[in-house]
Symmetry: C3
Subunit: 488 residues, 3 copies
Amino acid sequence: MKTTSSMSMKHFLNHGRHIPLLFVLEIAFILIFAFCTEYDDGAHSDRAFNVSSTDQENRIQHYYAMFQDVHVMMFIGFGFLMTFLKRYGYSAVSLNFLIAAIVLQWATLCQGFFHTLSSHGEHGTKILINITNLLNADFASATVLISFGAVLGVTTPLQLIVMALIEIAIFSGNEWYGLEVIQASDVGASMFVHIFGAYFGLMVSLVLKRDFTSEKEGASYNSDIFAMIGTIFLWLFWPSFNSGLAEGDAQHRAVINTYYSLAACCIVSFAMSSLVSKENKFDMVHIQNSTLAGGVAIGTAADMMIHPFGAMIVGSIAGVVSVLGYRFLTPFLHRKFGIHDTCGVHNLHGLPGIVAAIVGAITAALATEKEYNYSLYRQFPARAPMAGTPEFEEIKSHFAGIHPGQGRTGAEQGGYQAAAMAMTLVVAIGGGLVTGMILRLPIFGKVQKEHLFNDALSWELPDEEEEHHAPTNTEPMFRSHMQNEHKM
Amino acid sequence: MKTTSSMSMKHFLNHGRHIPLLFVLEIAFILIFAFCTEYDDGAHSDRAFNVSSTDQENRIQHYYAMFQDVHVMMFIGFGFLMTFLKRYGYSAVSLNFLIAAIVLQWATLCQGFFHTLSSHGEHGTKILINITNLLNADFASATVLISFGAVLGVTTPLQLIVMALIEIAIFSGNEWYGLEVIQASDVGASMFVHIFGAYFGLMVSLVLKRDFTSEKEGASYNSDIFAMIGTIFLWLFWPSFNSGLAEGDAQHRAVINTYYSLAACCIVSFAMSSLVSKENKFDMVHIQNSTLAGGVAIGTAADMMIHPFGAMIVGSIAGVVSVLGYRFLTPFLHRKFGIHDTCGVHNLHGLPGIVAAIVGAITAALATEKEYNYSLYRQFPARAPMAGTPEFEEIKSHFAGIHPGQGRTGAEQGGYQAAAMAMTLVVAIGGGLVTGMILRLPIFGKVQKEHLFNDALSWELPDEEEEHHAPTNTEPMFRSHMQNEHKM
Amino acid sequence: MKTTSSMSMKHFLNHGRHIPLLFVLEIAFILIFAFCTEYDDGAHSDRAFNVSSTDQENRIQHYYAMFQDVHVMMFIGFGFLMTFLKRYGYSAVSLNFLIAAIVLQWATLCQGFFHTLSSHGEHGTKILINITNLLNADFASATVLISFGAVLGVTTPLQLIVMALIEIAIFSGNEWYGLEVIQASDVGASMFVHIFGAYFGLMVSLVLKRDFTSEKEGASYNSDIFAMIGTIFLWLFWPSFNSGLAEGDAQHRAVINTYYSLAACCIVSFAMSSLVSKENKFDMVHIQNSTLAGGVAIGTAADMMIHPFGAMIVGSIAGVVSVLGYRFLTPFLHRKFGIHDTCGVHNLHGLPGIVAAIVGAITAALATEKEYNYSLYRQFPARAPMAGTPEFEEIKSHFAGIHPGQGRTGAEQGGYQAAAMAMTLVVAIGGGLVTGMILRLPIFGKVQKEHLFNDALSWELPDEEEEHHAPTNTEPMFRSHMQNEHKM
C-alpha cells in the first residue's frame, strides 16, 4: 500500500507523461486565446450597444437549441456509445470527455485561423468568437471522437491527446479547402467529418497493429444498455447535426430529410441484422451502430431537394451497407490487413460517409434553377454566374441577395463534390498513416497486452465482489470521497 | 457452433418472419412517400424563395426545441422506462426504437391522409411535410409505445410490428374524428393518445392471455436505475408534450400548468407509495410511473384557464389514483379477468387519461367569455357564433381573427368533450380486441413460456459470469465487433 | 410475510412520519397557490388577447430551451451524479426527484413573496406566474440539491424534506437581499446558490455528526458510469444555467465564457487527478466532480467582459482547487472537525463558489464605461448615476434605456460584490447550523448505522443473486408490477 517516492517517480515517468502535456497545453491555449481572439460583435458589450437587442439575441437564440443538441451528441452520444465494452466504460466515457474538451479549444483556434485567412483581414487578424465558433468546434470534435472509436481500448491517454492535436490541425485545413476553395456543399459534414474521422482512425489503427484478441473485447448486459443511451441520443439529435448551420427553408429541409432517412435506416438495420445473424436474432452491435448510418449517409445532401422518399432510400441503403460491413467487411479487413476497428467506425462513418458523398454529388449535379428557383445560388454559391456577366445582372435584378459565383453547371458542381470526397480520403489516409507512425514513438507509450480494453490501465477499480456479497474481512473498499483520510 | 443451411431455413421460417415484412414495409413507405408527399412551403426551395427568410425560419424555429423534447420522450423516455425488467432490457429499448421508427413514417401517412381529407383538396392531394408533421408523428408513436407497455415481454417482434400498423391506422381515424368533427379540445392528447393507447393495449393483452407468472418478471438493481432515466426525461419534457402544438398564451399556460401538476403529482405519489407499501418504504414501480400521471391527467385541460392550483389538484388526484391502481386494481384485473399489464399502463395512462378527459370536460363547460375574453373562440373554435349571425359580426368587429363556429354553449362543449372520451374508449377497446385476435393467428408466432420477459428470445446474450470473475477457459466471449472473424 | 395491523402502525409511527407531512404540504401548497398566485399577462387568456401573439410567444420562446436545459440539470444532472454510491442509487435519484419537486412549488412561493415585496404592490399582491418563475424555482432547487449532496446517505427522507423547507425560506431571503438591496451581480448564482448550498449543507452535516465509516460508502463499476450521466449533462448544460436569465450580448457572452471555462477546467482536472492519485491513474471522483468546477467558478462573472482567455484561467484555477480539495481538504475537515461530505460538495460548489465571488468582485471593480460603453449600466445598474444628476441626464440623452442608479464606482461595486459573498457565507453557515440542530430532534428520526448509504432503509430491494444465476427454489422475486396479486 505504501508508495515510496522513487516508485512514484518511476510511475510518473512511465505512466504520467500526459500530465505535463495537459498543463502545457492549457497554458498554451490561454496564451493564444489572449492574443488572438476577441468577442464577436453580438457578444461584445461595447459594440452590442449599437445594435438592437433583438438582433443580438437572434444570433444566440437562433443557434442555441441546435448547438446544445450537437453538444449532447458529442459528450453523451459518442461517450456512451463507446461504453459497450464490459471493462472499458470508465475510459470510454471519460477519455471521450477529455479529448472533446481539448478539441473544443484547439479547433476554435485552428478553424479560426483558416477562417481569418479567408476573410483577408477584413475584420482584423483576431479570431472573433460567437456561438457559431462553439458549434463548429463541436462538429470538429466529432472527427476525433470517430477516430477514437477505431482505436478504442488500444491506446494510452497520451497517444489519444497527441492524435487529437495532429488530427484537428489537418482536419481544419482540409475542411477549409473543401468548403472555401473547392466550394463543395456538405451541410452535415459527412465528408469533412465522417469520412475524414473514419479513415484517419483506421489508418492510425493499421499502423499501431494492435490486432491480437482479448477476452475483454466484448460487452456485458449492462454495458450494452449504457451504449444504447449513446445510440439513441445520437439518433434523436442527428437532425440538429445536419441542419445546425443551415438557415430558413434549407434548415427545415435538412431536419425533415434527416428524420426520415434515420427512420428508414432503423427499420432496414433491424431487418438486415436479423437476416445475417445467428438464428435470425438481432445483434446489439448493429442496433447500436447501423441504425445511425442514415444520419451520416444523408448528411451531404440533407439540405438539397432530395425529397423525403429520396432521404428514405438513402437511409435504407446506409442500413444495408452498414450491417453488411459489420458482418463481413470489418472481419475481412482485420484478417487480411490487420486493421482493428473496435467500434466499427468504418461501417458507421466511413462507408455511409462515402454513400453521402456520392449521393451529394449526384443530387448536386441534378439540381436545376427550375427546381430551386434562385435559392439554387444560395445552396450552391459557385453555380451563380460570374460577376459582370449578363446572366448575373439578370438574376440580380430579381434576387438582390445573390453573390457572384463561378458560373458552374450542375455537372461541374457534382464533379467538385466528388473531388472534395477524393481529397478528403487522400488527406485522411495520409494524415492517419503519418500520425500512426508518430504515435508509435516510444515516448508516447504503448498499452500492454493485459491492459487492452481494460480500465485497469488508467483507473483504480472498485472491488466488484463486495457489491453482491456481505463485506469480507479482506482489503477495504478503496474508492470513496472520504478515502484519503484512511491513507494519509 | 456450425449452422447448417437447412437449420438456417427452419429458423428463418419460424423466427425470421419479421424480416421480409420489414423490407416490404420500408419499400412500401418509400413508394407511398414518393407519390403522395411533398415539402410544405416553408421547407420547399422553390416556394421558400418568395417568402421572407424570417417567416420560413419561424416555423422550424418555433417548433424545433419542443419537438426535440418530445422526440427524446419517445425514444429515451419510453425506451428506458421499459428497461426495468432485469432480463428484457435489450428488447425494451431496442423494440421501442424499432416500433417508433416504423410509426414515424406510417403515422405521417395516416395522419396526412385524414388531414388531406379535411382540407378538401385545397392544397392539392399531396401530403405536405413540415415540422408539425414530424411532431404529430412523434405524438402518434406514443400511442403504440403505451400499448407496447401493456404487452411488454409477452409478444414477438412480428406481433409488435403488426400491432403498430393496425393501431396507428385506427388511432389516426379516431384522432381526426375527435379533433375535426367533434371539435374536442385535447392539447396534450390525453384522450386520443393516452386513453387510446392504454385501453387498446389492455385489450390486446386480454386476448393474448399471457397471464402465467415468470420469475424473470422483476427488476434488478441496475435495471431499476436505467428505468429512472426514462422516468425523469418523461417527467422533465412533459410540458413540451402538452404545449408543443399550442401557441402564444395558451402554450405558456400549458407549460405552467403541466409543470405544477407534475410537481404535485410527484409529492403525492411518494406519499401514497409509502402509505400502501410494506413497512412504509417506497416502491420503485410507483416512483417510476405514478409520478408521471400528473402529466397525463392535466393533458386535456393544460391550455385552459385551470390555474396553477387547479393543475396541482389534478396532479395530486392523478398520483392517488395511479398508486392505488398499481397496488390494488392491476392485481385485481389480472386475477379476475386475466389482463396482464406488464408496465401498468392502465395506472399511468388509462386512469389518468380518464381523469384528464373529465377535468377537460368540466373546465370546458365552465369556460366563459368573461374569463377568456375573445380568446375563448381560439381555445374552443366551435363556441364561436355561426357565420352570418349578429353575434358573429359583433365579435368580428372587435377581433378580426375569429372564424365562424357552431355557437356551442359551454355545457355543450363539455358534452362534446365527454363524447370524445366515450368514442375513444369504444374505438380503443374494440380495436384492441380485434387486433389481439389477429395477433393470435399462428402466422405471427407466439412467445414460448421460457422466453417470456426474456431477451434470449431475440438476442445472443453475453456470458455474464466473465464480467465478475477472472476469465475461465471455457467458451470465449461471443459478442464483439470483431466477432465474425472467428466464426467464418 | 404477514404484516399485522399493530406492526403496521408501529412502522408507520417510526418510519412513516414523512407521509402525513407530504400530504399536508401539498394541501398547503394548493391553498396558498389558490389565494396568492395568478397567471402573468403573457400566460393569461384574458390579458393576452390585448397584446400581439408574437409578443406573448417571445416570453416563453425566449426562455424555454434554456429552462429545459436547467430542468435537465436539476433532475438528471444532480440526480444521477449522486448515484455513484453502489447501494444508494434508488435513494439518490428518487429523493433528488422528490426534494426538487417540493422545492419547485415552495420556491415559487418564497421567491414570489420577496419579489412582491420589492415591487411595492405595483402589480397587486398576487404572485404572477410566468416561465421565469419556473426557471427561478429550478435554480432554487439547485441550492437544496447541493446541500443534499453533503449529507447523502446519512439522513432520513423526513429530515431531507424539513431541511429543504427551511433552507429555501432562508435562501430566498438571502438571494433577494443580495440582488435587490446590495445589488450584487451574480448571473450564474455562484454565490446565492452554490456557496449557500454548499456551506449550508456542510454545517448540517457537522451538526448531524454522522462521521463513522461504512463499507457501503463506495462506488461500483456500474454506479460510477451512472454517475457520469449526471456529470456530463451538468457539464453540457451549464452554459444555460449561467446565461438563462441574461439577455442579448450578455447572454451570448455568458454562454461563451462558460463553455471555455468548462473546457479548460476539464483538462486541468484530468491532469491534476492523475498528478495526485496513486500510480498517476485518474480518479473517478475527480472526473465526476472537479470537471464541473469551472461552471461554478465562472458563474458570477459569466456575463462580464472577462474574455474567453480569462474564463479559461478561471476554469483552470477551479480545476486545481477542486481536485486538491478532494485529495487533501475534505479528509482533513473530516478528521479535524468531523465534517462528513459525501459528495464533496465543498470542492465542487463551496470552494469554486468562493473563487467565483472573488473573480466577480475583481472583474466588477475593473469594469469601465470605456470597455462596456453604456451597457455598463445595464450590467451593473447601481453604477448608473443617481436620478437628477447632470451625469444621468447626459447618459440618458444618448441611451434612453438607462435607469437611475446609485452612482457607484467600479471599486464600490466590487466591494458590494464581496459583501454579498460574506453575507451569503454567514447566512448559510448560521442557517445550516440551526437547521442541523432542528434535524437532530428525535421526531425527525435518525439513520441507524447499518442503514447508512443503504437503500434498504427506504426500499424493498430486488434479490440480486437471481440476476446472475438460475432461479433457485428460495424466496420468489418480490418486485414486480404484478406483485401484489401474490400477496393479497
